[in-house]
Symmetry: C2
Subunit: 366 residues, 2 copies
């Protein structure tokens, strides 16, 4: 029972993830009313004694502190004698020292621990591709901006670095992997949730208008990644096989793909008791682009945008480079890559940014 997730996928550690991803917190804040509404529907009573929730794919836990604080507070309003457990789960390669430090108040982040009485965090190294807790233990499962990571890279993509640029058979291969992984994720949660439990999932998507992360009408961020790596290939700075391995193991699902196993009465997920309560798409604007629109400070814009991009894809791009290259040479190429992106933004900031496009779903377990 080790993680099935690709070993080279790691978010930035040391608390850097939450510091670099203000937008990821904005997304969770935007989903919080939906989470609180799900809590209202759990059937908690003044006599309820225990409440257990999970944050799956929590990274360093900093981005969900306020949401969890809100949930625990609401639960105590409904059930004053309740004792709560919050399970923070991620893959085993996550930075647990940063996660424990943030929750236990050893950083500048404002933890809910010590503020909410009778509530305990625990930490799990089981990714969402594994069952994380015993059957029926969870009242509430939450996950944000995590389940686009595939359990495995189904193929490299020709001429692009992301499935949004895939065509024909490769696009289909990614869609199939995305469907299998989504069903696996849901079937595991069907075991973990108690009957009457709820799940609120906030995942990157391709929305009804074809928008997705970093592609909301301006410059397409994934095309920018691709253009820079292709220029490195043309310059001979990287080789063809390295460019080919730069494929990100992600899949951005459509509304139909998210909904299908939850609304088809013949699907395994539906038979396991999962039902789609509601789904909507939401765009949260890139906080760095927003600030740039207010203050026009292009340097600050580039200095904010590049680290937030870098926090989630550096490990994959670095793993694409030939391991036979000396480590410093690989590190140098990665610096050059983000440096080139930084210069692109400085030269012409118009249209750059990383707006977040998410599907927000509430799923119940009957």
């Amino acid at each position: 029972m080790t993680s099935k997730q690709a070993d080279n996928v790691t978010m930035s550690g040391g608390g850097v993830y939450s510091l670099a991803t203000r937008g990821a917190k904005d997304v969770i804040d935007a989903a919080t009313p939906r989470v609180l509404e799900a809590v209202n529907q759990l059937g908690l009573s003044p006599a309820s004694e225990r409440f257990t929730m999970a944050d799956m794919g929590c990274a360093d836990g900093g981005t969900s502190l306020d949401m969890v604080r809100g949930v625990l507070g609401r639960v105590r309003e409904l059930s004053p004698a309740v004792q709560s457990t919050v399970i923070y789960a991620d893959q085993p390669g996550n930075d647990y020292n940063a996660l424990v430090g943030i929750l236990h108040g050893r950083t500048r982040f404002h933890s809910w621990l010590g503020e909410i009485e009778q509530a305990w965090p625990v930490f799990s190294g089981s990714s969402f591709y594994l069952q994380c807790v015993p059957d029926g233990m969870l009242d509430l499962a939450f996950s944000a901006t995590a389940m686009h990571w595939l359990s495995t890279l189904p193929c490299n993509i020709t001429g692009h670095v992301h499935m949004v640029g895939a065509t024909d058979g490769e696009a289909e291969t990614f869609a199939n992997q995305g469907r299998r992984d989504w069903e696996s994720i849901l079937m595991l949660r069907a075991r973990e949730l108690r009957p009457g439990g709820r799940m609120v999932l906030v995942n990157f998507c391709r929305d009804e208008s074809g928008r997705y992360l970093g592609n909301t009408g301006g410059v397409n961020m994934f095309d920018t990644f691709n253009r820079i790596w292709q220029s490195f290939l043309a310059d001979g700075r990287i080789r063809e096989d390295e460019y080919h391995r730069m494929t990100l193991p992600q899949y951005y699902r459509t509304m139909e793909e998210f909904s299908e196993p939850l609304v088809d009465p013949d699907s395994a997920c539906h038979r396991a008791g999962l039902r789609l309560d509601s789904i909507e798409t939401r765009v949260v604007p890139c906080p760095y682009a927003e600030q740039f629109r207010r203050d026009g400070d292009v340097g600050t814009f580039a200095d904010g945008l590049i680290p937030t991009v870098r926090s989630w894809n550096q490990s994959i791009f670095a793993a694409g480079l030939d391991p036979a290259r000396p480590a410093e040479e690989r590190a140098g190429l990665i610096e050059e890559f983000y440096g080139a992106y930084h210069r692109l933004v400085l030269d012409d900031p118009r249209g750059h940014g990383m707006d977040y496009v998410h599907a927000h779903m509430t799923i119940s377990r009957v």
Copy 2:
């Protein structure tokens, strides 16, 4: 709700703790029959669905892997459909990346995860001076070689580095702190254990013959620590105030001190439902001294003994040094200290070693 334990107390990280402490694993192995006997008395039946245990003060988790494997196996024999949760708890400054890595099979240690079906580890940053889980959640609590760490240093000791060398009022001050901390530890466990639950605690002690860790008839290890630091003081390598701050925040309890709150019907612990089932003292020989008796290789002996000593006291001695000294100077003094100990062993190995002297207790919650 942050850790009350002194911030400068940390076991070696990066998996070094378990590698350096073969003896600590020997101690847990010696206690395993007692733990399995406690499992037999939990009233588990073929219909039992859930089992929850905790390892408190787990460090990197490596030393208890085999014990936990044994417990989970026994539980499955008694209750074939059971699903188990193992809570690994330590203070927030523990190395959780090492702990998660060892449990999730990312190291050379042989984890039970993946071998025992339907069992999950989770990790907690709550020390045993805090409640770690909701009321009544635990069937079994285990702790080894951890609860001698006091919640706070009650005073520095004049002329020695450890309470085993304290006299008069200072000895009494330590005894009082030891009693208060022991009662706190027990009262918290009384909340966490379900009625009928059991606790097996394996703690450093002063036994019926006055033996304790590193003092079983040969050279007294704590006197050796003290002699070396005193020589550093005499040489002017450290100052008086630094020597004074070298006091280890530990207390080694006697059998009477361990038993008292569990057998006195008027005590808070007894009223909270805790009962002493049994207590015994056991000596586990220093594995490095044992090997030296077999092979006579003094170099290997010194190379094994010093790191095992160092793994649990380096952080305290280092914190005693004046923080105004440059970091390299402090690191250098620490190296010199263990180097001096190493040379003492090389020069005359007779009587050196770190035999473990533990009280093994089983406590039930009525």
